[in-house]
Symmetry: C2
Subunit: 371 residues, 2 copies
């Protein structure tokens, strides 16, 4: 239990802080958008990896979710979730563990794009992974491999439940028009693949698409049955750089304390290094490189042009983004650092200290890691 | 307990594997080198964060150690260690927690380079951090700030136990001559600062230096009383790139399974992404960029020119380092990935599966994370 008097200034550092009101607002925004398009969200829980955080997004209901590990599937099953899509290409040796979850009552759906995997699976509910953007895995919507893959799955005794795709290349898109086009490309490719399966005699009821950028920029989801997205619950500097959110929408930050200076270099040192911030440098490829994170005051307001320019295991180096000298912040000053990538930064911690628009700590949410 | 029959092929993936014999050999090599120079090792435990792993390095004794967090100090204190150097610039609000450890019987030494911190501490045993290479924190050996800082510490009722320095710039040095020169620069700067303190009337008995490269390349440690090093226990691709170890000395790897292919791109996909490998790309700055890691077979032998060229949260992409196509490895193939940076990769996991030159899992070592 958190004492009513605990504030951010009382916490040891580094630690993870999340603003509950921002999580709720981020969730409401996407829910409203998808409701207009008439397609349900299948939340990806890999970002928060926390039942308590997910409750803020989904409420007390236990709607369908997406996971990136069997550990997530097991943890969320124990939290009452039943309809679970494991959205990473299935490795056949994981069948026993998956089956155990199914025997306990989960509707677990797995994905593959591999004929070898298809032949080794049995009694599984499977989505075929479709590649709509050349980003990672999947068979192309018009690939000659699609129908033989579906037949191999069926011949091994599996259910071909449909298709899934993830337009990860949307992370490299810039501007409303490009993001809308990417969303349409993702939709059209998935629908095309599903149509081909149906023409070949498969029911293939599910057409699952999604990434946080395309989920927010989609204008038409005809033929799509569900949208997956995850990082929007917290948002981060990469998403702000793409334009999917504003910096002030970012719900996650790392609380840190000033522990030294290098006046000759214009550096302020903090006790949050890459171990607390993660090594993720996702904004390095964007027009505005945010280093290891944007420096905010204890209320979460960015301090103009201050970023974490470098990091060591337990040291962060704060400087002006121009390389010019910034005024030194006194030793003991508490700061909040906005992360490049919420999924990566979250994973460095065991839980969240929860605030709600102020410095008071109103809750603590556990999270888990591992596989 | 690990069944005698458990082998690497039986483990779920991704997971962390460590070769105990390599850890022992790495430890023996540095111990022998430092014994010749007549200076004891103060092991940095931040890499393994594991009592069991540290036992392989240090044996049953409980010699002085170095930590990067108070959590490490507490965990290793509970494991019997008493003489603990917390080698990250001390943030004053951590005094209560540090004092608790001291009251339980620890000889905890902290470090600072800050006059503000010095004035806020009391009854602490302190090393003044010296900057011998412009890398991070510390006062220069000849700085006018050194003696006033020591006086401020004494005036506040602290013990000025001496100096410490970390030549982190050695990570950017190449070639035996440059590394030897960096070790000498680190030694000379620390000894110079300690001499100045002694001339000003401080005992300053401790002269603590170290980084894994300088610890291995030092030829003369006159005036130095202890050497700190950590990552050598596992070594990694960054250290191999510097030339401090061979690739075959690397004791740590991430076990992964092939779960798909992109024949059109020459990719093999595995179930270990950056969540299992870490986002660390330390070799990106080196002449030989190893991507997210070197791909080895199940026996730990590198497969020529195969590296993890890109990674997503739970996907790793293996390809030929040239960008050319590599033969596809069948779905289900188990691989071991050597990490860029052992400290970062270790931190993504809760423990180590231990082997000893073969595929049999002979032990499991717990590790901890957090602050």
């Amino acid at each position: 239990m958190i004492s009513a008097m605990t504030g951010l200034a009382d916490l040891d550092t580094p630690c993870l802080v999340v603003d509950r009101g921002k999580v709720a607002a981020n969730a409401e925004r996407l829910r409203t958008h998808l409701a207009k398009l008439g397609v349900p969200l299948r939340l990806h829980v890999k970002t928060a990896k926390s039942l308590a955080a997910t409750d803020v997004v989904l409420g007390a209901g236990r709607p369908p979710i997406t996971v990136s590990t069997l550990r997530e599937a097991e943890q969320f099953f124990d939290g009452g979730y039943r309809d679970i899509l494991y959205a990473v290409g299935f490795a056949p040796h994981k069948q026993a563990r998956a089956r155990e979850l199914i025997e306990r009552g989960a509707q677990l759906t797995v994905v593959t794009d591999s004929l070898e995997t298809a032949r080794s699976l049995s009694n599984a509910r499977v989505l075929i992974e479709i590649d709509t953007d050349g980003h990672r895995a999947g068979v192309k919507p018009d690939s000659e491999a699609l129908i033989p893959l579906a037949r191999a799955l069926r011949d091994s005794g599996n259910t071909v439940a449909g298709v899934m795709t993830h337009a990860g290349e949307s992370y490299n898109s810039r501007g409303d028009a490009a993001l809308r086009a990417m969303a349409e490309q993702e939709r059209a490719g998935a629908v095309r693949a599903a149509s081909r399966l149906r023409e070949a005699g498969f029911d293939a009821p599910v057409v699952s698409v999604g990434s946080t950028p395309t989920a927010h920029y989609a204008e038409n989801l005809s033929g799509v049955t569900e949208v997956r997205a995850g990082v929007f619950v917290f948002f981060d500097l990469v998403m702000a750089g793409i334009g999917v959110c504003r910096v002030e929408d970012i719900a996650l930050s790392v609380l840190a304390t000033v522990n030294g200076h290098r006046a000759d270099k214009g550096w302020t040192l903090i006790d949050a290094g890459w171990m607390a911030l993660s090594r993720d440098r996702g904004t390095a490829k964007q027009p505005l490189d945010q280093g290891y994170g944007v420096v905010c005051d204890l209320d979460g307001r960015p301090i103009p042009d201050l970023i974490v320019v470098d990091s060591h295991q337990e040291h962060g180096i704060i400087a002006h983004r121009s390389g010019g000298k910034a005024p030194a912040l006194p030793v003991g000053t508490r700061l909040r650092i906005l992360p490049n990538h919420a999924c990566a930064t979250g994973a460095q911690h065991a839980g969240y200290h929860v605030v709600d628009g102020a410095r008071e700590v109103v809750d603590r949410w556990e999270r888990f890691n591992g596989w």
